[in-house]
């Protein structure tokens, strides 16, 4: 270990003797504090120093201790402690200074006691530009000029008249600048006082505030909608309103991400899902409702990219190239044409969502394509389109008996096509047979419905099916456990001639009268004359194999046929006859 003594050269003051005594005292005190830091205070009582000097030198030398100390205030300090005089110094040879933390200005204190806000001088009142008062009297000045005075003679048109140039030099009679003498009396010219008319203001007649106390809510809602929908400052979606500039906007990237996400999921998604999954906003955040409105409002403006297919409570959004919901066995347009007769039946007004449940018997046509007709019953159960040009709505049909929820698509009717609900293929195939009775119930949510079927004991029978591969009707032994309407059940016992039959040609299918005629022949009940007869119940079940017929529609064809091929059978109760060769 290498140790090195630190030497300190101090120039002591005082006489030679005092310098020597001071040096000796400093050496002793330095030895006392040899392990202390160079600026730590070394304290030794004056009494012990005197004793040391007395022992080492003499009492006379000790008597000069105070003088030596006082002569070197830069090296020694003196303090009192417990009635004793204490001599203080440091190893560095400097009188110890009072050490302490300077807390007069700290960062913490600065934050806790901020400076007062600087006083901003009061802004001077900006002078408003005013119309020169002389303009206020303009009408008075123009009053003497009658309109007759302003009539110009067409012959003396000032524009077409030649302009005469004056070539005479201008001569000033009076000097331009007069000498101003300070003593000259100032003559104050008195101007006539003109009454200044107040500035004219235009008063727009304000429409009085409506008294809405006696107005019905529906009328008031219509009035609000009429005025605010046309106002570009207002954003509207469904029954919600906001100022347009307060609705958050989406970038092109946001819109692309929303579209991509819907396409990834391969099905329409609700606004809730889009806001949470794509925009990353949780339902508990205060902005969730605002962002949901923003999604609905902004996407409704993107007609090319997004389609609204939701309801008031379940706002589904779709894109143009999503796979179709439901069957691919028949095109939606063709199904809509099959249901064209519903447009006439629906012409009678039916209130949307006015009933709580609807019972329905599933026909063969509906079973095969997994659909339901949008007839008067279902119209009174389901919601109206939320948007004016909405063509379809995606609904959820829950089947509590199989713990399954199906996404179905309601196609609203158009002027020449009927409406229908697609997407029930799996539910029908797994639980029902053609002729089954189902009940559809509404819930609080106008986009969610419960579908139930009558449960029954296991039943067996040879029921009609259409074999997809061979495209032929066949009877297959079937076991089912649902309640059925017997008149719609297509058993081999009732309709034996349908076995191995092929579906009708599309040209025949297209004409309802031809389908009815073909059904008479397929049923095969020959009458005494050269024709066929069939009960209405058999006809109703059988015609619905090829294309949809309602009870009312079939009866209208049978009774209002212009060709006279169909007629009511006078012998049978609710039976009809058909004479071949008369239908086109």
């Amino acid at each position: 270990m290498l140790s090195m003594e630190q030497t300190t050269n101090i120039a002591f003051a005082g006489s030679v003797e005092e310098q020597r005594i001071a040096s000796a005292i400093f050496a002793v005190m330095r030895a006392q504090g040899r392990f202390m830091s160079s600026d730590s205070t070394i304290r030794v009582s004056a009494e012990s120093l005197r004793a040391y000097l007395t022992d080492v030198e003499s009492a006379d030398v000790a008597a000069q201790l105070d003088n030596a100390i006082n002569a070197n205030p830069a090296v020694f300090g003196v303090s009192e402690l417990g009635g004793q005089q204490i001599i203080e110094t440091t190893r560095g040879g400097r009188s110890p200074r009072v050490m302490g933390l300077d807390v007069s200005h700290s960062f913490t204190k600065r934050f806790m006691t901020p400076l007062p806000k600087p006083e901003v001088p009061e802004r001077p009142v900006r002078e408003r530009p005013r119309v020169d008062p002389s303009w206020a009297t303009l009408d008075q000045l123009l009053a003497p000029l009658d309109a007759d005075d302003l009539d110009f003679d067409s012959e003396s048109d000032p524009i077409s008249a030649p302009i005469e140039l004056i070539e005479e030099p201008m001569v000033f009679d009076a000097p331009i600048i007069e000498a101003i003498t300070p003593d000259a009396p100032v003559v104050e010219e008195e101007f006539p006082v003109v009454d200044v008319a107040p500035a004219r203001t235009i008063t727009v007649p304000v429409a009085p505030q409506n008294d809405v106390a006696g107005v019905d809510d529906i009328d008031l809602a219509n009035a609000i909608s009429d005025r605010l929908v046309a106002d570009s400052r207002v954003a509207n979606f469904g029954d919600q309103w906001m100022l347009e500039d307060q609705v958050p906007r989406f970038s092109r990237g946001d819109l692309r991400r929303l579209k991509d996400y819907i396409q990834e999921q391969e099905q329409p998604l609700t606004d809730d899902v889009l806001v949470q999954d794509v925009l990353g906003i949780r339902p508990t955040t205060p902005d969730f409702g605002l962002m949901r409105f923003a999604v609905n409002f902004r996407l409704s403006r993107e007609h090319r990219e997004f389609d609204f297919v939701g309801t008031t409570n379940q706002r589904f959004w779709s894109t143009s190239n999503l796979p179709q919901i439901g069957t691919t066995r028949r095109k939606p347009n063709e199904i809509g044409s099959d249901y064209r007769y519903l447009t006439d039946e629906l012409s009678e007004p039916a209130a949307y969502r006015s009933v709580t449940s609807v019972d329905h018997v599933v026909s063969f046509y509906e079973y095969y394509l997994g659909l339901l007709p949008y007839d008067g019953d279902l119209k009174s159960l389901l919601p109206a389109p939320l948007l004016p040009n909405q063509r379809s709505a995606v609904l959820t049909f829950e089947t509590p008996q199989s713990y399954t929820t199906y996404l179905v698509e309601l196609r609203y009717p158009t002027p020449n096509r009927g409406g229908f609900i697609l997407g029930l293929d799996d539910f029908f195939t797994e639980n029902l047979v053609p002729g089954a009775l189902i009940t559809i119930k509404r819930t609080e949510n106008d986009g969610h419905y419960l579908v139930e079927f009558l449960t029954a004991g296991n039943q067996s029978g040879r029921l009609l099916e259409l074999e997809d591969r061979r495209q032929r009707y066949v009877f297959r032994p079937t076991t089912y456990a649902c309640g059925v309407e017997d008149s719609y059940l297509l058993t081999e016992e009732r309709f034996p001639n349908f076995g191995s039959e092929k579906p009708l040609d599309e040209k025949i299918r297209r004409r309802p009268e031809s389908v009815v005629a073909a059904t008479f022949e397929r049923l095969g009940h020959k009458s005494d004359t050269q024709g066929f007869w069939a009960t209405f119940a058999d006809l109703m079940a059988a015609v619905n194999i090829e294309r949809p017929f309602s009870d009312r529609y079939l009866r209208s064809i049978l009774e209002n046929d212009e060709t006279g091929a169909f007629a009511r059978d006078p012998d049978g109760s609710d039976a009809y006859t058909y004479v071949p060769g008369t239908t086109p």
Partner: protein
């Protein structure tokens, strides 16, 4: 035959002020209530 209700400019200005002060979407029913409360 009942006459159709039409909102005046004053009513529309009032509805716009209601919308301006709202931080979340306002339903039609809330606007109707606001109009009725103003009339009282």
């Amino acid at each position: 035959m009942p006459t159709q209700v039409q909102l005046s400019d004053d009513d529309v200005t009032f509805l716009l002020s209601v919308l301006r002060n709202a931080t979340t979407p306002v339903t039609t029913q809330q606007l109707i209530d606001a109009l009725r409360n103003r009339a009282r």
